[in-house]
Structure formats: structure tokens, C-alpha cells
């Protein structure tokens, strides 16, 4: 039951966030888009309407993308002439230990940003789907709030929580008699990456939960009734009714949170600058670091292009899997 109209088609009625349509997914489904009702009669004036948007888009997105690819095939320090090196920068990403590590870290962060929030959201919604919750709107407002706050602010606040002296996490551990666990969370060689990752979990869990809560509301009560008549308990009910009907929402949540994990720059820059050592460095941070701190512009561009390619592949992949499941 997916409607292809946007939630806003009717004037004045805004959108209970019901039809969770994966924007990227829809965008990528090429066949469907082109077979939609042929819009309007032929009109050359269409080009005029598109021209201003296209001009600025071409200048500030398409052209830079082309230059980024071009840079990535050279070595350049920003001053001396560029030198053509072919694919060497891309090989360097695979060869260099620290860069491989940075990409590895981003996979760990996907667990914290995407897998964990979606799992938590599903567990919670499994508990919640059996009841009408009063005050749901208020809960939704609060749970969604971390999504809205600037990530720089989020990072500043969590730095205070993780601070070695007077940080509220260490304070808390001291008070409950776990003082031995106190540490400089963001400076700990083994735990810093997880500490950064947990911030992502905090940001993303609300998004997942709110998505799933609104998805569950669209599942017809009759499906649950039928399951219960068949004698399904809460667990069977979840796997037979809730989970399959939330496929679209799960795809949206996974896509948004995975992209956020891969593009994680603000949090790392503010909390750890990639440290201690190289322990929390991630590709988005290395783009900045290599290009604007170390003058390895070609290599930085190659990291950026690789990151873009990863985002493209993962978005396609998630869309594909959720589509196949539905058919």
C-alpha cells in the first residue's frame, strides 16, 4: 500500500509522516520514473524554467565533481604544477595503513550509526506495536530532537559528558561505585572510536524509532487480529506482521543513517581530530586533513571520490534489497 503521491498533495494537510518513501530509492528506480504519466503537453518554455537551477547546479556541483576526479588522478600540493599519476592515489588508499584504517573505522561507525539504532528501534516498536500509546506525539517530539540539533553542538555537549575530569559520565560511574571504569573516554586508545560511535547511536535512534512508530500505525489492525486468531504470540506477530510491513521504513532508516555514518566529519573534527593516534580517523576527516592540512590534494580528492562511490553503492544496495523483498 504505497501511494506515489507525496504526503503533501492536499493543501493544508501536512503529512502525518505516513508514506515512508525512500527518496533516493524512488529516484533510482529509473524505469518507474520515466513511465509516470507524461507530464503536460510539449513546451519549449520548459527549458527556460529549468535553466537557472541547472546553471547553478552545473557550476557548483557537476563541475566540481569533474575537477575532483581530475585532481584525484594527479599529485598536487596546491602551489606547484599538478603531476599526472593515473590511479596511484586510489592504489595508495588501499596500500596505506592509516587510510585503510580510516575506511575500516567508517564500517565500525556504520554499526553504531545505522545497525544499532535500527535494531533498537525495531525492538522498541515490537513492544509498542501492540498498544495505543497516549501522548505519542510528545514522545515523538522528544525522540526526534537529536536529529535537529547541529552536529557541532552535539559534539561539544558529548565532549563535556566524556570529559576526564568533571565529565558527567565519569561522575556517574564514581557515584555508583564503578570508579575503576573512569577514564578519558575520547583519549582512550581502545575505546575512543566506540565513544564517538555511541554519539551517533544517540543521534540516530530517535530517527529510527519515529520512522517505525509511524510505519506501524499504517499496518491494518486486521492483520494483527488475524495473527492473533491464528494463535501468534508477540514474537511471531512481530516477525509475521510488523517486520515485513516495515520494510520501506527500515530501508529509509538504514540509508539515512549509513550515509550519516560515512559522512561523519563534524563529530570527529570536534571531539577527537582523528586521535588518539589514528584511532578515530574517518574518510571524511581525511579529505579535510590531507587537502587542507597536509597539502596532499590529489590523494584527498581520491578519498572524496571513493567516499562518494561507497555512498552510491550502499544506497543502490539497500534500495535493491528492499525492492526485491517487496515484490
Amino acid at each position: 500500500m504505497r501511494s506515489s503521491t507525496p504526503a503533501h498533495a492536499e493543501p493544508g494537510v501536512v503529512a502525518e509522516p505516513a508514506p515512508a518513501e525512500l527518496l533516493l530509492g524512488r529516484a533510482l528506480r529509473s524505469a518507474k520514473v520515466s513511465r509516470r504519466d507524461p507530464p503536460g503537453e510539449p513546451r519549449h518554455v520548459g527549458y527556460l524554467y529549468i535553466l537557472p537551477a541547472f546553471a547553478i547546479y552545473a557550476l557548483f556541483v557537476l563541475a566540481p565533481l569533474g575537477f575532483a576526479v581530475w585532481y584525484s588522478l594527479h599529485t598536487w600540493d596546491g602551489l606547484l604544477p599538478m603531476e599526472w599519476v593515473g590511479l596511484d592515489n586510489y592504489k595508495e588508499i588501499f596500500r596505506s595503513g592509516p587510510l585503510r584504517q580510516a575506511f575500516g573505522h567508517s564500517l565500525v561507525l556504520i554499526v553504531f550509526y545505522a545497525v544499532l539504532p535500527v535494531t533498537l528501534g525495531l525492538i522498541m516498536v515490537a513492544a509498542l506495536s501492540r498498544a495505543r500509546i497516549r501522548g505519542q506525539a510528545a514522545f515523538r517530539t522528544v525522540l526526534f530532537l537529536p536529529q535537529v540539533i547541529p552536529l557541532v553542538v552535539v559534539a561539544v555537549v558529548w565532549r563535556m559528558i566524556y570529559a576526564p575530569n568533571n565529565g558527567s559520565l565519569n561522575d556517574f560511574l564514581g557515584k555508583v561505585g564503578l570508579g575503576s571504569l573512569e577514564r578519558a573516554w575520547l583519549g582512550d586508545f581502545n575505546l575512543a572510536l566506540y565513544a564517538v560511535g555511541f554519539i551517533g547511536t544517540w543521534v540516530a535512534t530517535g530517527l529510527a524509532l519515529v520512522l517505525f512508530m509511524s510505519g506501524v500505525q499504517r499496518i491494518p489492525q486486521s492483520l494483527y487480529d488475524a495473527a492473533r486468531v491464528d494463535g501468534a504470540g508477540p514474537v511471531r506477530e512481530f516477525f509475521a506482521v510488523t517486520l515485513p510491513n516495515l520494510r520501506g521504513e527500515i530501508a529509509v532508516a538504514l540509508t539515512l543513517t549509513t550515509i550519516a555514518a560515512l559522512r561523519n566529519f563534524d563529530l570527529v573534527y570536534i571531539t577527537t581530530q582523528g586521535g588518539p593516534g589514528n584511532q578515530t580517523s574517518v574518510p571524511a576527516f581525511e579529505v579535510y586533513n590531507k587537502a587542507f592540512q597536509q597539502g596532499q590534494i590529489g590523494l584527498a580528492a581520491a578519498i572524496g571520490i571513493t567516499l562518494a562511490a561507497m555512498i552510491l553503492v550502499i544506497t543502490f544496495g539497500i534500495t535493491r534489497i528492499s525492492e526485491r523483498g517487496r515484490a
Binding site: G40, R140, L307, A308
Partner: protein
């Protein structure tokens, strides 16, 4: 029907997660109100110091940062909304050669992360002396928002009843009049959702500002906060007050227009 116990469990779960979501935010507020120079570890402060906000505003130059952010965010929202309405209108209601290909070129922009573009943007804008100006912050973000906006508005125009268009045409309205007199008033909710999302993305953007801006006058709110933290990391109450100031505009907007935020984000909206 579910049991009373399960009902209680439901509220318990939601409450726990709501507390976790709120704890850092309330902690920041409490720290911002605490005595300067005394760290309370997110506890209740011994006395209230609203002057922290004034001090952050003046000493921390947050008035400057907020002004920059406002100029940039409003410009990006206004320009990208106008351009997206025009292009979405063409894609959604008109047929012309190459429209499908052109549309794909636009939506490719949804998947291109700024991280991949920021290096050439910096060097090319530097070549034309546009780095360290508002233009360097506004133009790239308009371009990225236009990719999303075109997609969003096309979907809206595709869904408007054909009869509206035909009625306007029979009345002899030009395509321009039809758009602004008939369709745009009809599409206010969709347009507002788009504006709210673009505002949030622009307000919260950090990397672009970090790369493009050198002079303090032009720092946006997140960038200003990052510098403030670098220089005054020991003045926790001022830092917290600054954080509250930076987050407040977008949080206020969220509180008043939250349906738009949630509806937009839930539809899977992303900006490159």
C-alpha cells in the same frame, strides 16, 4: 487487548529513551545556567547565571556568528526555493526533449556528498577571489539544495490535479501566471517542508564554512562555536551557553513546524 503490565512496560520503554534523548540537552542547559568557572558535571547548578548568555553573546561574538548564519541560511532557502519551484514545475507539468535525462542529472546530486566537492570548490572559488565571502557559503549550498528541491517539487507538481492546470489554461493564464497564482498557493505545505529542511541543513553545515571562511566576521554559528571551544574549553558555562545559542533557532523552528521536519526526514530526504 493487552495487559496492564504490558501497557506500563510500553511507557517505561518510551520514557527511558526520551530521558536518554533529553539528558545531554538538559545537561547543556543546566551547565549554561551554572556559575562560570565551576563545573557541575550536568548537575543542578548552585545558583542561576543567566548572564552567561549575555557574556557568550558579547565576548564569544555569537551575535556575529548568528548574523552570518542567518544571512547564509535565508539566502540559501530563498534562492533554492525559487529555483526549485521553477525547475520542479517544468519537470512535473511539461514535456520536452531530454527532460528525463536532465532530471537524472539533477537527482544524481542527491548522492554526491559535499566531501567529494569541497576541494575543487575551494580552489576554484579561490581563483576567482570568492573564498572568504558569503558567496562561497551560499552558492554551493544553493546548488546542492536545488538538486533536492527539484526532486521534491517535481513530485508535488506531478501530484497536482490535472484539472487545476487545465482550468487555468482555459482562462487564458500563461504558464507563469498558472504557476504563481494557482499552483504555488495550492502547494504551500510542500514548499514549507522543503524550506524547513533546507534551512536546517544550511544552518547546521560545518565543513563548508570551515574550509571557505577565514575571517571571523563571516563565521557561521557552528564554525564560531568550534573556534570558541578551541579557545575557551575551560569556560564550560560560556561554552554551553554558546551551544544553546547556536542550537536555539533551529530547535525553535522544529518545535513550531515539527510536522514538516518529521514528514520531510521520514520521506528519506537527503542533501548532498
Amino acid at each position: 487487548m493487552i495487559s496492564r503490565g504490558e501497557q506500563v512496560l510500553n511507557y517505561a520503554i518510551l520514557t527511558v529513551f526520551a530521558v536518554i534523548a533529553l539528558y545531554p540537552i538538559l545537561g547543556m542547559l543546566l551547565t549554561a545556567l551554572g556559575p562560570p568557572g565551576e563545573s557541575t558535571g550536568f548537575g543542578i547548578p548552585s545558583s542561576l547565571h543567566f548572564e552567561n548568555f549575555r557574556d557568550a553573546w558579547n565576548q564569544g561574538h555569537f551575535s556575529t556568528y548568528l548574523r552570518s548564519s542567518t544571512i547564509v541560511a535565508v539566502s540559501v532557502v530563498v534562492a533554492s526555493t525559487f529555483l526549485s519551484i521553477l525547475s520542479g514545475y517544468a519537470f512535473g507539468t511539461m514535456r520536452f526533449r531530454g527532460s528525463t535525462v536532465l532530471f537524472y542529472v539533477f537527482i544524481a546530486g542527491l548522492m554526491i556528498p559535499l566531501e567529494a566537492l569541497v576541494i575543487p570548490l575551494y580552489f576554484k572559488l579561490r581563483d576567482v577571489n570568492l573564498t572568504d565571502t558569503y558567496w562561497a557559503l551560499i552558492l554551493p549550498q544553493v546548488a546542492l539544495s536545488v538538486a533536492f528541491g527539484t526532486f521534491w517539487m517535481r513530485a508535488f507538481f506531478l501530484a497536482t490535479p490535472r484539472s487545476l492546470l487545465e482550468a487555468a489554461r482555459i482562462d487564458g493564464a500563461s504558464s507563469w501566471t498558472t504557476l504563481w497564482r494557482v499552483l504555488v498557493p495550492f502547494g504551500r505545505p510542500a514548499i514549507l517542508t522543503m524550506m524547513v529542511l533546507v534551512f536546517m541543513w544550511t544552518w547546521n553545515e560545518f565543513l563548508l564554512a570551515l574550509v571557505m571562511v577565514a575571517s571571523e566576521d563571516l563565521r557561521t554559528a557552528p564554525l564560531g562555536l568550534a573556534f570558541f571551544q578551541g579557545q575557551h574549553s575551560s569556560q564550560l558555562s560560556l561554552l554551553a551557553a554558546g551551544s544553546v545559542i547556536v542550537a536555539t533557532p533551529v530547535v525553535l523552528l522544529y518545535i513550531f513546524l515539527q510536522r514538516h521536519f518529521i514528514a520531510g526526514m521520514l520521506s528519506g530526504a537527503v542533501k548532498g
